[in-house]
Point group: C2
Chain length 136, copies 2
Amino acid sequence: MKENLTIGAIARTSGVGVQAVRYYERRGLLLPDERKESGYRIYSREAVRRLRFIKNAQGLGFSLEEIGRLLRLSVGHKRQCARVRKQAQKRLEIVREKIGALQAIEKALQRLIRTCAARGTTWPCPILEGLGEQSR
Amino acid sequence: MKENLTIGAIARTSGVGVQAVRYYERRGLLLPDERKESGYRIYSREAVRRLRFIKNAQGLGFSLEEIGRLLRLSVGHKRQCARVRKQAQKRLEIVREKIGALQAIEKALQRLIRTCAARGTTWPCPILEGLGEQSR
DNA sequence: ATAAACTTTATATCTAAGTATAGAGTCAAG
DNA sequence: CTTGACTCTATACTTAGATATAAAGTTTAT
């Protein structure tokens, strides 16, 4: 039983849209293994793994651009682990920065809401007033 | 000395682009107080405050859509503090969710990097392997 | 054999928050 | 009075990651 993984098949098993798979191909991330005479794309199970790689990496916040770089690092006969780790570390730093920024926002919102609650439902609304302030 | 705040003036003092100010106007967030016969927009200092409001709220993660809603809540003679607080609380929850999601990503990246470091610069690269796994 | 389901390419559209450009008019200084 | 800086409108373009649509061809099931 020769496997005939069409684009619809790998899309379904990976939970992405058919259009998205073609889009990844245009971005150079996922080439079909073969084309039938009809032009239909045929994929191997390795391609499914690759597609999963793309989705997992996306889930970790990697952009398709970065994912492309990771995939290109992985194809040479010499797998360049150090560079991959560097990428992952860079991504980790960015994630940590984002967390920090969001925590600052969290604090600012908490402060606004606390002020509002302390005053009760009065006028003028301290949230709106506070947001109109000159920021330092 | 009558103030003639042109679009360039309020843009400069608020640190936004002239185009952006016009864009906010199209979005219904910031109308000029007046138009000269020439069609030039003229703003009051109140408009500068409003523009600061927009930028501050953006800094807290509010979208222009949400900011528009906040501004509309603030214009009625009866300022609806409760609704504003509700919006801010909703925003706070979203921020907290984002923080949680990013912390999960942080952990996953840390794990990948740890595995990689433990193995040294070997083959196959555990980060790339890990990213190709079926996720649960 | 035919209908349903699938695939092909190419092109357009979406979101968000703007930025860029063109062509024309206006304002202030020297 | 001219130059340069500014403004006007309208339209197009940007990023990122897709999704939607059209018009045509293919495969599979009955």
